[in-house]
Amino acid sequence: MGEELGPGRQLTRALVRWETALIVLCVLVFVLGAVSTAGFADRDNIGFLLVDYTEVALLALALLPIVLTGEIDLSVASVLGFCSALTGALWDAGMSFEAIVPVVLLTGAVLGAVNATLVVGLGLPSLAVTIGTLGLYRGLAYVVLGDRAVTGFPESYRPLATAVVPGTFLPLPTLAVAGCAALAAVVVHATPLGRSLYAIGLGKRTARFSGIRVGRIKSGAYVVSGALAAVASVVYTLRYNSARADNGSGLELVAVAAVLLGGVSIFGGRGTVAGVVTALLLMAGLRNLLFLNDVTNEIQNVINGLLLIVSVLVPVVTDLVSTRGRRRGAVRRPTEIR
């Protein structure tokens, strides 16, 4: 993909190289893990490492269309936190779980719509807006639930987030994530809507003059992002059987890292679903490998942070190397994102 849109074969080749490198790295991590660490390659462990990345995967898929249009959403993990807190508060108030889920999903969509209103309706920079809603939604989670934890969610629903497909080691949530990724791949790569996302990311004015409804599509991406984060919150709450206001805090880093490591340009207009999925697999494998080798969560965050930086640094460096000797300024990339 990218042939029709890319400014040249150079870009296509870089893209191919990026994703090939990712796949190689991913295979390397899994082979290395299987060889070096006892228990890593066990069926149960592979299932665990997959299910452990369910929420991050959903958040990354939620972020992807937004980043493709050149915007950002740092509030995804806070939406997850608020929805989880709301689930706890409603469950505490005696509402049935069947009734809570639609309410929570709707709430997620509404929180996404709030972001959309501020970014698209008022034309405010998405970075500032979503730093604000990152704080606001997380703060509201504490307002709704305080600092207590609600547990005891119905046994009948918890297998949805923990069980495996009978006869295999594939966890049900992973199957759902795979379904979401497939759907995302179809929408992003094979529909006019998907092409519009890239067009907006490559040039908002050109997209508008080409008849693309920029505002509507961006708003839609934010609403979908909110709803997906709400889905992630339901999985999270059921998987840990615990609703807390600080659920999923810091996951925005992991999701952004997965998206950018997957080869999606932070400036928009470039990236594939396959790349993001590979990056997610790579990160899930790495996380589990480090966990089995007793590396603490804090150090894992260091690695995620480094992955994020490296994934934006590498394209810049390869650009520099590949343009050396040619006319200066032949490849000009925007240096700021706001």
Binding site: A128, G135, G139, I266, E298, I299, G305, L308, I309
Partner: protein, 333 residues
């Protein structure tokens, strides 16, 4: 055209007004809020946030941002504690220098990635937010010193943090000195004016011969040094430090800067405004429990303040733009 420099801009007057209303209402509920002790605490708490906000202002003016402030501050606060664990009698000035140097190094890492590698500051500093915090925790678990308490630090250091000069807290004096210095640089010095040019139009600034990369790197280093200073002062003031000091502080800092009228798109804003923003947010935090709002609401309030002020800015801008358009149309018929 005569042009006088007013001490406070319209935006800053607005914040002062909001501050006065808030203080009046809160004092009406509980007169102790404006008592000597209440004011003392308020200014002490605002001082550290002001240092962070003033540093952040320099960055935001150049169209950059530093989300790693909380982690850098945590790292330097922890450094102060570790120094005293190693040598109980370290002179205060040595700790200050060490903290400022470490902050500057953190800033230099961010700045090098942003200025030399041209990676967006948002992504770099989101990454270093977790890298620096992880180093902080890693350091704590490596040395086995998870928490440093007041009795492990020298009395001199603690006295430095809580002391006053002529009734004004020393931390507040430091914040004021920094504020005045940064204000002077931004208003008067050539390099300060160039920061606005870089933020207004990076491309034009480069064409005009401004060494944008060098300036941005310098601003990251200076801002990091201020964060380092804030970290040491935090340690001296609170006396208890663990690896989680400053977690989530980036929200309050960015909120203070934006509430203070510094445009997130770069190119406009003052250090004075950011300092007033910091004072307003600190006052709100102090007033919440008195007004019967649980302290848990603080994050939500910070976030809401940020969103409210950027929305207000946009509304004012839109009105201004349409007025200018009307006037122009009226002139040209």
């Amino acid at each position: 055209m005569t042009w006088r420099r007013r001490p406070l801009s319209g935006r800053e007057l607005g914040i002062v007004f909001a501050l006065l209303v808030l203080v009046a209402v809160t004092t009406a509920v509980n007169p102790a809020f404006l008592g000597a002790q209440g004011l003392h605490d308020l200014f002490l708490n605002a001082s550290i946030l002001t240092l962070l906000a003033v540093g952040q202002t320099l960055l935001v003016i150049t169209r950059n941002i530093d989300l790693s402030v909380g982690s850098t501050m945590g790292l330097t606060a922890f450094l102060s504690g570790q120094i005293y664990v190693a040598d109980h009698d370290t002179p205060v000035i040595a700790v200050l220098v060490a903290g400022i140097a470490m902050g500057a190094v953190c800033g230099a890492v961010n700045g090098a990635l942003v200025a030399a590698a041209k990676v967006p500051a948002l992504v770099v500093t989101l990454g270093t937010l977790y890298v620096f915090r992880g180093l902080d925790y890693g350091w704590a678990s490596l040395t086995g010193t998870r928490q440093v308490n007041a009795d492990q630090m020298s009395g001199q250091f603690l006295a430095f943090g809580s002391g006053s000069v002529l009734g004004v807290p020393r931390l507040t004096l430091i914040a004021i000195v920094v504020l005045v210095a940064v204000n002077y640089v931004l208003r008067t010095m050539r390099s300060g004016r160039e920061l606005y040019a870089i933020g207004s139009n990076p491309h034009a600034a480069r064409l005009a011969g401004i060494p944008a990369g060098k300036r941005i790197l310098a601003v990251f280093v200076v801002s990091g040094a201020l964060v380092g200073l804030a970290g040491v002062l935090h340690a001296a003031y609170f006396g208890t430090i663990n690896a989680s000091v400053g977690s989530g502080e980036e929200l309050a800092v960015v909120a203070a800067v934006v509430v203070g009228g510094v445009a997130i798109f770069g190119g406009s804003g003052t250090a004075m405004g950011a300092a007033l923003g910091a004072l307003l947010l600190t006052t709100i935090t102090g007033a919440l429990p008195i007004l019967g709002v649980p302290a848990l609401w603080q994050r939500a309030v910070d976030g809401a303040a940020l969103l409210l002020s950027i929305s207000l800015d946009r509304a004012v801008m839109a009105r201004l733009a349409s007025r200018l358009r009307r006037e122009r149309n009226a002139r040209h018929g």
